[in-house]
Amino acid sequence: MTNNPERVVLLGAHGFIGPELERQLKAQLTPILAVSSRQLDLTAADSTSTLVRLLRPTDAVVMLAALTPDKGRDTATLVRNVAMMHTVCTALSQTGCAHLVYFSSDAVYDNAISHVTEDTPAAPQDLYGAMHLARERMALSLEGSPVLVLRPTLVYGHRDSHNAYGPNRFARSAKDSGRITLFGGGEETRDHIAVEDVAALTVRCLLKQRSGILNVATGVSTTFSAVADLVAAQSTRPVEIVRTPRVNPITHRHYDVTRLIKAFPDFRCMALADGIARMHHSLNQESHG
């Protein structure tokens, strides 16, 4: 059974995933309140009371707001991120909500673990992962509402502002300089998911009021080398792929997405080649106008 939420509140609406999620929710004719950091600084002293005034008990709240790793991986950043979550949880404990979806990260898993399911113990290796794990626990401690924690793998899309290593950086780099630089030979395997698919799955989760923990991944892992080859093959200009001396050990990451399949057996993720083609197209459109 599916239920369109009365309203979806997006906190951190103007990041990478937020705009795509907003677009797809609008296509569902779902009422939305999109809140960005410019409209509400969740670390500000009065942010809790402001948020309380904005929220309704019938809202589905999607918490995307976070200072991403490119803005800092230190203790100060962790504290600010936790403070944001504290604001949200405090506000929700006063207003209540119909559903809370927390966007976490695969950084909660130990990098050395190559086969990951939702039952894999969370063992973050850095402060960024520790931050997300702490925020997950804060979300899950909310009483009276179903809470869903989403742990996305590497997300790609032309609007990625962090220039993450992988399809995002490769596509931009191929377009801008005709060159893709790999760490080592690009032997590591990773699961890459298109932002459109992340948003589509989130919409499904909202409609079904899913709770618990869900890894958001395709179940198909590809080497960075193969990703670079895909990007180069689809580029409109010649692309040189440069391999560099390896500094770090090769690690792999594969997701067993059985839980996702069981939740949505009819959901189809975009193939990486198709996603990269779409990204190329969008990047080219951006530069033309």
Binding site: T117, D119, G219, D256, T258, I261, K262, P265, D266, R268, C269
Partner: protein, 422 residues
């Protein structure tokens, strides 16, 4: 003079054991406290399905008395207490019925009769039930669904739990056991009770190796079926080692024993990490069909139709407890399904779009994929060319390798099985 044998609890274990004892030439009293269970059995209608069972009941009818009157057990020299022990979803045993029947046995059997607990019980159970003036033993059962009669008639060995293992077994009991022509291994109660669990742990370890290595084969181009003969010729592994990959551990008894070992480890502080890994591997492997089906069909087709052959948890049984087929169907709710099983009716499936096919080929008619979820021997007779003609799509998922892979590929089918890359 041959001892008269009694068997209490006319569920799977007790019934098969009693009928097999009659086949060995013994007079047998088959008791169950429920008259409603006994009545049809007196008419030759057995509540369980096992190869040879119906034939043996008919053949040995003059030697078998089905009764709900506990006083009839007074005629018995040996009384086996043998109800099936139900397990819950957490692998815990429900000892209610064995407790009840054992109390009854100790109350009504002759004082010189031997009472034997045959049902699987936790270590410590039998010792806790001893009574002054009563001779009580524990005997390990090795029932296998689908081979229960064979296992009862021709055991590999008999493991007997005793209060005093160094003492000879009572004459009536020894006579009965000797009729099975296999080694008899007396030991203390707890060793016998744990022996059954230990047997199952060895089987699980072997299966887990097979599943783990088969999964690697599926990715690196090796074929596990080519490797297995080499392993079985290694004396340390042996020709009867259980190395066939499967869809996880199903049926309840193995899962119960895994849970029991974990519980003991937690209670006594011993390490059971490897046991928990086996459990996780079993759960992982159970989803192989769904994963391949998703990869090769569900992720690419908007409205696929899926044929499912086999609903029982294993062949030659009616049981669907912990059936991988039923578990798969729970995750195919959005899709059209056409199901067939030689014994289990499609009405046993809770699915909004399930068609109950009359035959295997009927199930495959117009389907985009066929999944063989229970390795019934009759499925091996299916002609791949006929399958290909019936199917709309050409995907065949055959985790148990019931069909000939070369014949399937020659027929133009996309054939997928455990242990080999697809």
């Amino acid at each position: 003079m041959q001892p008269v044998m009694g068997f209490m609890g006319m569920t799977h274990l007790g019934l098969v054991s009693g009928v097999s004892a009659a086949e060995k030439g013994f007079q047998v009293v088959c008791f169950d406290p429920d008259p409603a269970r006994i009545a049809p059995m007196r008419q030759g209608e057995m509540p369980v399905s096992e190869p040879q069972l119906d034939t043996l009941v008919a053949t040995n009818a003059p030697r078998i008395r089905f009764t709900a009157d506990a006083a009839d057990l007074q005629a018995c020299d040996v009384v086996y207490v043998a109800p099936d022990v139900a397990t819950d979803d957490q692998g815990g045993s429900d000892l209610g019925q064995i407790n009840t029947l054992l109390e009854l046995a100790l109350e009504v059997a002759r004082l010189d009769a031997v009472v034997v607990v045959l049902s699987q019980v936790p270590p410590g159970f039998t010792r806790g039930k001893q009574r002054v003036g009563r001779t009580l033993y524990y005997q390990v059962e090795t029932l296998i669904f689908g081979r229960a009669v064979e296992r009862a008639l021709y055991p590999e060995r008999t493991i007997v739990g005793c209060a005093k293992p160094e003492e000879p077994l009572p004459s009536a009991y020894a006579t009965f056991l000797a009729a099975h022509n296999c080694p008899i291994l007396p030991m203390r109660y707890e060793s016998a009770e744990l022996a059954k669990i230990s047997i199952n742990m060895c089987l699980v370890a072997s299966v887990s190796v097979a599943n783990t290595m088969a999964e690697i084969c599926e990715h690196i181009g090796a074929d596990w079926s080519e490797i297995v003969p080499a392993l079985k010729l290694d004396r340390r592994i042996g020709p009867y080692s259980y190395l066939t990959p499967g869809l996880g551990i199903a049926g309840g008894n193995l899962e119960r024993d895994l849970a029991t070992v974990c519980r003991y480890a937690d209670q006594y502080g011993t390490d059971a990490g490897v046991v928990r890994a086996w459990i996780a591997n079993s759960q992982h492997r159970r989803d192989w069909v769904l994963g391949v089906l998703y990869r090769d069909l569900l992720s690419t087709h908007a409205k696929p139709v899926i044929a499912v052959l086999g609903l029982a948890y294993k062949q030659d049984t009616h049981s669907i407890k912990n059936s991988p087929s039923i578990a798969l169907l729970e995750h195919l709710q959005p899709f059209q399904v056409r199901a067939f099983d030689p014994v289990v009716p499609a009405t046993a499936v809770a699915h909004p779009h399930c068609y109950g096919a009359a035959t295997e080929l009927d199930a495959c008619a117009g389907a985009d994929a066929v999944v063989i979820m229970t390795p019934w021997s009759q499925f091996a007779q299916l002609d791949p060319l006929q399958l290909a003609a019936q199917l709309r799509g050409k995907l065949v998922l055959d985790p148990y390798a019931v069909l000939n892979s070369a014949a399937c590929r020659s027929a133009g089918l996309r054939y997928r099985t455990l242990g080999v890359q697809s």
